[in-house]
């Protein structure tokens, strides 16, 4: 509520009651007026500017609230008296070297606390007085060269040159990280907090100049301080870390580096730091008051007060992981085909969330201003995806690749270009943190469903123009290569969205039936789609094989020569691609088998528990305010607009569950048969998994029937499939455990009051398939098992 009237009254005050302040200023005493007005205020009244929205106020900090007002932070005497221009430490005992080393060591650790442990800058790097001091100076005078910067002035080169340059190096790295964040790909706050407290982090100073300064520090240390090995290592580390901007495409455009040597050298330095540091953060002492909450009190701050973050000792191990993740991300440059790039991006951030810098660099390195990896235009990249899956050997491809620019060619190319946007969005979504990754699919599915509908129309139209391929052995149905690819991608996303819900612990145990049954259903649709494509590929390969016989029947002449030339093209270009595509399709077949079988095993186990009334595929919560159907429909809201495949209704899901149940009489005797069905499924999954694992381990030999495209993301892919294999084994064991527990109550067939169910992740198992685990009622564990 606005007290506009009161504000108006205050504004209308005149200088009738002038008071002389004693220094000649004319003041107006409004005390009485203010008292009168405030006494008239009601408790609910908010005095505010008319244009000020209360919602904006929710972001405000509150003065005099100790939890929110950073000006109330109390500093001790050391913090208050700290002088950045005083050379702390006894010069005769080596204490100064110890102090400087300690500050630099902590700054390196603080970088990891910030970037790897998700802490904020004010509680880590910016809590260092030297950082605050030097950046305050730079902010006041943002020059374009270090030569013009004011530095430390202690008259001790250890402080003035070595520490001063080290701080500059750390701040330059922060500047680079801010740029990475600004260029997108990761999320401010949740992925990375880049609050520099309005300090200018060397905006005008080039990284090269900073590296040169650090190199001069290193020379000084080597020449004049033989005892400074640790400090030398730290300086060398920082020099190497400042090479990272060279791998950030938006920072250096066409000069972006592809040689990873400097990064491998960084790893060597980190390794020696891990060896020598041994996690000891207390081996050096700092000048007293050097790290402080003071910056939060002194500088502009939009955040509540927060204690500074003390390094835990594992920072160099984190740095090792940080650098390895970056090297792994940049290895994407080795990929040559669309399928390899697709697989790289799919597996890279899969089993473990990669460090934020690696995720951001992957995106910027892969998706550049106008190309993929600087090798393929966006449209070419999209065409590669199509070609390497369903477009090779089709009439549509012949039209697209026809050099005579016909009108139909142009309109088809234009239509296909609409797909590039969807494809890039898919790529941008994959390196996101796990929560955003799933949420991204929620939006992507709208786009992909829409382009599928659009392309089914386009391809029907193209068929009417004679641009078509039919599958003879399947009743002459049309292939529709573009729609086939879109549908495959969409179905894979739908499956992933559903299964990611288990990873993120979004589902309760009672929801697992619908989710796994839905995944089984989607995989079956995917399998049918792939069968169509597989049949086409076989038909086309057979056609090419038999083409030679046709040529032999032709009479010598121009027609025969033309046919021979066409045959050569078919055997040299088309057939090899069709063979590769068949292997890719075989890989997806195996993915279908794995997801179908593991999902079905979960469905069997759920049905077993449902048969004993331990669980139901609907909430046991009060539905006073809602209904089972609303709850179900809300859960499937993401898919509510999907046209194909038709999403089963709540009633259909409930009916499906009934088909799996076992019933009295002799309910216990029916368990082995149900588990036998389940184990058959799990064996199918294991066969497929072992086959994929073997293919990856043996480097995808030429005679392998499967192409996994994981050559450049081998370790991650292997771990992923092995986690699935572990889950297949664990599910089988879990089936037996459930049977044993159910058999403990042979006389009962309603165990609702005996057991509760929890979803538990298995060690080294897949987070897509947590186990339905029985717990005695009322003795439920207090928290869920942490995801692996």
């Amino acid at each position: 509520m606005v007290v506009e009237k009161s504000i108006g009254e205050l504004a209308n005050l005149t200088l009738d009651h002038q008071v002389d302040s004693g220094n000649g200023e004319q003041l107006v005493d409004i005390t009485e007026h203010l008292r009168r007005l405030t006494a008239a205020l009601k408790p609910e009244t908010v005095v505010k500017e008319a244009t000020f929205n209360l919602f904006e106020g929710t972001y405000a900090l509150e003065v005099c609230n100790v939890k929110l007002d950073t000006s109330l932070i109390e500093l001790n005497a050391d913090e208050l008296d700290f002088d950045c221009n005083f050379p702390y430490g006894d010069p005769t005992t080596g204490q100064r070297l110890e102090y400087v080393t300690a500050v630099c060591d902590r700054l390196c650790r603080s970088l990891m606390n910030w970037l790897h442990d998700y802490q904020t800058l004010p509680t880590t790097v910016l809590s260092c007085r030297y950082v605050e001091y030097l950046m305050e100076l730079y902010t006041a005078n943002p020059v374009s060269s270090l030569q013009l910067c004011q530095g430390l002035f202690t008259h001790d080169p250890l402080y003035d040159r070595v520490l001063g340059n080290f701080v500059i190096g750390v701040c330059s790295f922060i500047k680079f990280t801010s740029k990475v964040l600004k260029d997108g790909g990761v999320y401010e706050e949740e992925d990375l907090n880049c609050n520099v407290m309005n300090l200018d982090m060397l905006s005008g100073v080039s990284t090269e100049e900073v590296i040169d300064a650090l190199r001069s520090s290193l020379r000084l240390l080597i020449e004049s301080y033989p005892e400074s090995q640790h400090l030398q290592r730290l300086t060398d580390l920082l020099i190497h870390m400042l090479h990272l901007p060279k791998y950030h495409y938006p920072s250096c455009q066409d000069t972006v580096l592809s040689d990873l040597t400097p990064l491998y050298e960084t790893l060597d330095i980190v390794e020696s730091l891990v060896e020598n540091g041994k996690g000891n953060t207390a081996q050096y002492s700092y000048p007293p008051g050097c790290f402080s909450k003071g910056i939060q009190k002194r500088r502009d701050n939009n955040f509540p007060p927060k204690d500074i973050y003390e390094p835990k000792g594992d920072e160099y191990t984190s740095l090792d992981e940080f650098m390895k993740d970056i090297i792994a991300a940049l290895s994407v440059k080795e990929c040559n085909t669309a399928f390899e790039i697709r697989q790289f991006v799919w597996f890279f951030n899969r089993l473990r969330q990669r460090t934020v810098m690696a995720r951001a660099l992957l995106q910027s390195y892969l998706i550049r201003e106008d190309s993929i990896l600087g090798k393929f235009s966006f449209d070419a990249f999209k065409n590669m995806h199509l070609y390497e899956f369903s477009l090779a050997g089709t009439t549509l491809y012949d039209v697209i690749s026809n050099k005579d620019q016909t009108k139909s060619h142009e309109s088809i190319a234009e239509a296909l270009n609409e797909l590039s946007y969807c494809l890039l969005r898919w790529y941008q979504n994959m390196p996101q943190n796990a929560c955003r990754h799933r949420q991204g699919f929620n939006r992507l599915l709208l786009d992909w469903d829409s382009v599928q509908a659009q392309f089914e129309q386009y391809e029907s139209h193209w068929q009417s123009m004679g641009i078509e391929d039919r599958i003879t052995n399947m009743g002459d149905i049309p292939l529709m290569p573009v729609s086939t690819w879109i549908y495959t991608t969409k179905l894979l996303m739908m499956i992933e969205f559903s299964l990611e819900g288990f990873h993120l612990e979004v589902y309760k145990p009672w929801e697992s039936f619908t989710q796994y049954w839905f995944c089984y259903y989607l995989s079956s649709h995917l399998e049918s789609n792939l069968k169509r494509l597989h049949e086409f590929l076989m038909q086309k390969m057979s056609y090419i094989s038999n083409y030679n016989k046709k040529i032999k029947k032709l009479k010598a002449g121009e027609k025969k020569e033309k046919a021979k030339s066409h045959y050569k093209h078919l055997t040299d270009v088309v057939l090899p691609q069709l063979k590769i595509n068949e292997k890719t399709v075989n890989y997806y077949f195996m993915m279908c088998t794995i997801v179908k079988s593991l999902s079905l095993a979960q469905v069997f186990q759920f049905a077993l528990l449902k048969s004993f009334n331990i669980i139901d595929a609907r909430t046991s919560a009060s539905t006073r305010f809602s209904s089972d159907k609303f709850i179900h429909d809300l859960r499937f809201k993401t898919f509510s607009s999907i046209g194909i495949p038709e999403v089963p209704t709540f009633e259909q899901f409930q009916k499906s569950l009934k088909d799996f149940l076992i019933e009295s009489p002799s309910i216990h005797s029916k368990i082995p048969k149900l588990l036998s069905f389940m184990n058959t499924e799990l064996e199918n999954a294991k066969i497929a998994l072992n086959s994929v694992i073997k293919t990856i381990e043996t480097g995808e030999a030429g005679d392998s029937p499967v192409a996994t495209g994981t050559k450049h993301v081998r370790e991650s892919a292997l771990l992923w499939f092995k986690s699935m294999l572990n889950s297949a084994v664990a599910l089988s064991v879990n089936g037996s455990v459930l049977k044993t527990k159910l058999s403990e109550n042979l006389k009962l067939h309603d165990l609702h009051d005996v057991y509760d169910v929890e979803l538990k992740f298995t060690p080294n198992g897949s987070y897509y398939f947590p186990l339905l685990t029985l717990l005695p009622k009322h003795r439920k564990s207090s928290s869920q098992h942490a995801p692996p």
């Binding site: 908010v46 209360l54 929710t58 900090l61 929801e511 009060s622 006073r624 305010f625 809602s626 609303f630």
Partner: protein
């Protein structure tokens, strides 16, 4: 719990306002400014309820909510804060407060009710999930303490189950089934 009575928040009562602030400040991990309280309590005083123990002149529990149009297509209720003094916990007071708030939001023709809670807060999750809220998504490092959150939703009408893109205010009757 017998002896505990529940009232709607009285915006004209200073003590009620300051007690709500104190209850929440003591209980929640997020520090809220006075503006956050004013945002909720001044605009939606009817969606705040208090629990009082017999003979105690200050509230011992409270729930603070709001409701507004989400994406311009559905009315979304939101449970912003809920707190019960430690010594009164485990007596069903929070559940009663939630029930009163939901009733009020149903009355106000909300299509759904939403809230966020820390993934590690098993008690809160248990409480809301027993009232048919479901976890819609996980929010990475949502809180200042770096913790993830779950976004929970209780669907009250069919509108809650349809994507915003496909909803228009004219296409669906409000409050289809409650």
């Amino acid at each position: 719990m017998s002896g505990v009575r529940y009232t709607k928040f009285n915006i004209s009562n200073d003590v009620e306002f300051s007690t709500i602030k104190k209850l929440i400040d003591e209980d929640l991990s997020e520090p809220y400014s006075i503006y956050v309280y004013r945002f909720f309590l001044n605009q939606w005083p009817d969606l705040t309820y208090l629990a009082w123990d017999e003979g105690v002149d200050k509230p011992i529990g409270c729930i603070v909510c709001k409701s507004d149009l989400h994406n311009g297509v559905r009315l979304r209720g939101y449970i912003g804060m809920l707190a019960v003094e430690k010594q009164y916990r485990g007596q069903g007071i929070a559940k009663k407060l939630i029930t009163l708030a939901i009733d009020a939001m149903v009355e106000g023709k909300c299509d759904e009710i939403m809230l966020e809670t820390e993934c590690s807060n098993a008690a809160a999750l248990h409480l809301y999930e027993n009232m048919a809220f479901i976890r819609m998504k996980r929010l990475f490092r949502y809180y200042l303490n770096q913790g993830d959150a779950f976004k929970l939703i209780l669907p009250l009408t069919e509108k809650s189950c349809v994507r915003s893109t496909f909803l228009s205010m004219d296409a669906f009757p409000t409050n289809t089934i409650v």
